[in-house]
Symmetry: C2
Subunit: 163 residues, 2 copies
């Protein structure tokens, strides 16, 4: 039932514009136990296998202070995903849903996001639990989990705006 590159009954592909509006830099590499998309979890779990995130230079100094956060938001590039489907059939049963109503890796900008539990930090290597991606997935960003992060900068006027 996994998608490799096929289009299933009822699915709709579009001709997307060139993906040149902004450019990404791969800042590291994620190691997981899953070497095929046929094995990857549909969603990571906080008691999942230990995975490692290697951060490349010149970004290693950007890890300073990260160990005080128990959970991290990790962004990565789903490098094997097609990008042109607007309607998809996750169960391959002719029922189709819009891509933005799904957390499928197949999306116009295939960026995966997970909340990972931080187990340890050693130099440029983070050990975490909770990821769902392929071994070798390129890293895009790491941020403290929004639910535990308290801004350090002074508030701005927008912080007080309500509907």
């Amino acid at each position: 039932m996994v998608r490799l590159n096929e289009i299933r009954d009822g699915e709709v592909a579009v001709e997307p514009p060139e993906a040149t509006d902004a450019g990404l830099v791969f800042i590291g590499r994620i190691s997981t136990p899953w070497t095929s998309r046929l094995e990857c979890p549909r969603q990571g779990r906080q008691d999942g296998p230990l995975c490692t995130i290697e951060v490349f230079e010149p970004w290693v100094a950007a890890l300073d202070g990260i160990s005080k956060y128990e959970t991290l938001e990790v962004l990565y590039w789903l490098h094997e995903s097609r990008r042109d489907l607007v309607r998809q059939s996750p169960a391959n049963d002719r029922t189709v849903r819009g891509t933005f109503a799904l957390r499928t890796p197949v999306r116009p900008n295939p960026i995966g996001t997970s909340i990972a539990r931080l187990v340890s930090v050693e130099g440029n290597i983070l050990t975490v639990q909770g990821l769902d991606c392929l071994d070798g997935t390129p890293l895009l960003d790491i941020k403290p989990d929004r639910s535990i992060f308290v801004p350090i900068a002074l508030p701005q006027s927008g912080d007080f705006d309500t509907a």
Copy 2:
């Protein structure tokens, strides 16, 4: 105290590699009340001002089914942010922290993520609360909030892997 493009005491900039490892397509545009970075909230709030997300063609069909989700994860491109700081001083007080230990917009890949409350959907326009970005911010992705999304595809072996 807002960062425009200055480097503050103690901060460290690096010479980043060219950002050409992958390319993004801007799939829509976000409208908010904030037209200057001096006003943007540090973090969005679920009772914040109504903001709109316009989705461009050919991606509008990908919104099918989105209205059943009360909260959405929204990804956007922080188009005014510098990308080269590895140590930052959010309070401009000579205390510095690593970029990955902060939710600052200044990061190697300036991708913002918010959890937004979906108020309404009309055609290609979503009205939401909870965003924190500048008016005119380019949209990268919309996904159902992970905390309420149940995968539709059949489980794979990785779903059962634990540490």
